[in-house]
Amino acid sequence: MSQHIVSAKLYISVWAALICLTVATAAVSYLELGPFNIVLALTIATCKMLLVALFFMGLKYISDRMTIVVIVAGLFWLGILVVLGMSDYVSRAWY
């Protein structure tokens, strides 16, 4: 349980950063970058996700390791589905 109480100012700063990143990703989508469009878009999305997770969801302040293990496990498992699953599709063209 997080007993740490964060200042409202920090929350608002995080929110401002999130808005800036959203504006950035929207603006960048007007540039022609080929395959990098999506790479950049997902990178920005991941930054936003981290801001929400660390500050709004409190992950930066929790002392409990188990929660981190749980989250990492969830993301890792999604990774298993995507990586092993896509390995079939990607390798179908190899012969």
Partner: protein, 230 residues
């Protein structure tokens, strides 16, 4: 590191023996709150896997039908999507401020922040309704009224299948989220939460932020594939 805050004027009195919100099978409030929060995080990873199945399917077809995916994305309503992203981010701010207010025993501002969160959530759903209506009138619902003038018709239909399914399930989670926030707002108004017992508010907050994170990924994957053509 733990900061202990003392009670302010409109908070419930501390009971010397045990907290009335302590459930009988737990030995302490701390154990109860730790269990409750761990439970919510475990639930959220089930949601990662639930949405994950759709993200995987999206990836498979994007790999096969990139041109159709580009085409479909061009027909997304860029401005409504962007505004909706901002709306959800604002709702996340008000949600976390609501949790903070509970931790500070500020009953009234808790309720206000929760109600504003609900308003943002309803705004999101309203905008989605506008978008959905637009796609429907453009005959962009595969199976029911699909009609595509351009190339790769059935593949673009696949894109739209994923659009409807992914945003549809996201919207369903928003509706549930609004229901949960309403429930918490009612109990907050009744004075049930305080610095000693606020983890239901925190947990609903976690759910709300998670649904926001799903949208943070849906937005570029659906609206920002490739570059915008004018």
């Amino acid at each position: 590191m733990r900061l202990r805050r003392f009670l302010l004027s409109d908070s419930p009195t501390v009971v010397a023996t045990h907290n009335p919100d302590l459930q009988h099978h737990f030995s302490s409030m701390e154990q109860q709150q730790d269990a409750s929060m761990l439970g919510m995080w475990v639930f959220l990873i089930t949601e990662i896997m639930f949405f994950g199945g759709m993200f995987f399917g999206y990836m498979v077809y994007r790999f096969y039908y990139y041109a159709a995916w580009l085409e479909g994305s061009q027909h997304m309503d860029f401005w409504w999507g962007t505004i909706n992203t901002v709306v959800l981010l604002c709702s996340s701010l008000t949600m976390v401020l609501a949790v903070r207010s509970t931790q500070l025993n500020r009953r009234k501002s808790t309720v206000v922040f929760l109600l504003v969160t609900i308003l943002f959530g309803l705004a999101f759903l309203g905008i989605k309704a506008i978008e959905y209506h637009g796609h429907w009138t453009e005959h962009q619902f595969p199976g029911l009224n699909w009609s595509w003038p351009g190339p790769y018709s059935s593949q673009v239909a696949l894109f739209f299948s994923f659009y409807w399914a992914m945003t549809g399930f996201h919207a369903l989670h928003m509706v549930i989220g609004i229901g949960l926030v309403l429930f918490i707002a009612y109990h907050a108004w009744k004075g049930k939460y305080s610095a000693l017992y606020f983890n239901p508010v925190e947990n609903v907050g976690l759910y709300w932020h998670f649904v926001d994170i799903v949208w943070i990924y849906l937005y570029p994957l659906l609206y920002l594939i490739g570059h915008k053509k004018g």
